[in-house]
Symmetry: C2
Subunit: 229 residues, 2 copies
């Protein structure tokens, strides 16, 4: 019987690559996709298509946060543009969603425990990232301690943890690795806005563009025009 | 301006007492109630009435877990009866819901951060309890470390934490304290079953009955017949 894993899938480059890495390592992957009233639904559709392409079971879980204190949740707020400067993102941007990864990993850990999965995989990355505190290695180590102390599987000494295999990789390393595994990047979406084409100015677009450029690759969503496909 | 807090409210004795304690300490309390397809809706109605009686804002958040691996979620499963023995509950019962407190506290922490609340209060108790791993002091300490490392408020050094003021109290101490604060115990519900009257045989009923007996008090839900009120 193969080992099971829950993979958090957002529809972006990192989580898609993480899914293919987990599959390559032999895990039977169950994808968890969150519909949390993010600004646009496009990334949900992308996540669904990535899971289907990878031939994995998936769940789209609806969460109605009773708050919208984030420019990713509040559709009237401005997304910061032209902000990203390499190695300079020490402040946390307005796109930060309070406790988001803590919430997502907790729910994934619950599902993992319920189906006897060993691992929760998350595409968190602390190199080419926007400065979110819940994307850093120390944070994930503490989360694993929490799982060891606060879940039935953890207490019983079974192997049960969160892994972020891309945590210390640059975006270009991630993309280079992903292209070798044939990750369908043409189905991924990174832009914080949900327009027909990526805005190319938000942090997420800027980090993605830099990644493809340094990997010496063309971004397939710019080539094929994903939005109209 | 008063300090704000999120209080997790389940409709039971411990969370109701925690709410009144937090109010007594001067917090402006916002109650978070979860509708997670638990076996019965009765505790939701109780939680709502407790929040209203305490004159606090509340949110009922719906969560559809994509699993039902718990006798609290699976309505066809048997709730263990006559199981509770004082100091003997070293095994985790089938009513354990995978990662439940981790999920609930995460969501409460997100709301807290969004509205600038200092505290999340939870009625967790590690004395008269069923043996759930996510109700112990070490677990909550680790959660606070996670909030310090993984949230914007934590990273910025602001006071932001989970507190379980009843963690080391016996059920009779909790009830004695609560009666002094006029906690409306007639509105609380503890039984894992949702019948008209408490079953008096599940862990939760047995712990409650022992608590009232040792506090030398009558349980008002047995006296006034809450269910028919």
């Amino acid at each position: 019987m193969s080992k099971k894993a829950i993979v958090l899938l957002s529809g972006g480059v990192d989580s898609a690559t993480t899914l293919y890495l987990a599959k390559k390592r032999g895990f039977e992957c169950h994808c968890l996709i969150f519909d949390y009233n993010q600004r646009h639904k496009k990334e949900l559709e992308c996540a669904r298509r990535i899971a289907e392409t990878a031939k994995c079971e998936y769940e789209i879980m609806k969460i109605n946060f009773p708050w919208n204190a984030s420019s990713l949740l509040n559709k009237d707020a401005q997304i910061p543009k032209g902000r990203f400067r390499e190695g300079m993102n020490k402040d946390i941007p307005s796109t930060y969603v309070p406790a988001r990864n803590t919430i997502f990993v907790s729910l994934a850990a619950g599902w993992a425990e319920a189906i006897g999965a060993d691992r929760v995989f998350i595409g968190a990355n602390a190199v080419d990232y926007s400065g979110y505190p819940d994307c850093r290695p120390g944070y994930l180590d503490t989360f694993n301690r929490l799982l060891k102390e606060g879940t039935k599987r953890g207490v019983s000494g079974e192997s049960f943890k969160v892994e972020a295999p891309l945590i210390d990789k640059s975006k270009s390393e991630i993309i280079t690795m992903g292209m070798r595994m044939k990750v369908p990047y043409e189905l991924t979406w990174s832009c914080y806005e949900g327009g027909e084409y990526p805005c190319m100015k938000c942090d997420s677009c800027m980090i993605r563009a830099k990644g493809f450029r340094r990997a010496g690759a063309d971004d397939p969503i710019l080539k094929v025009g994903y939005a109209t496909a």
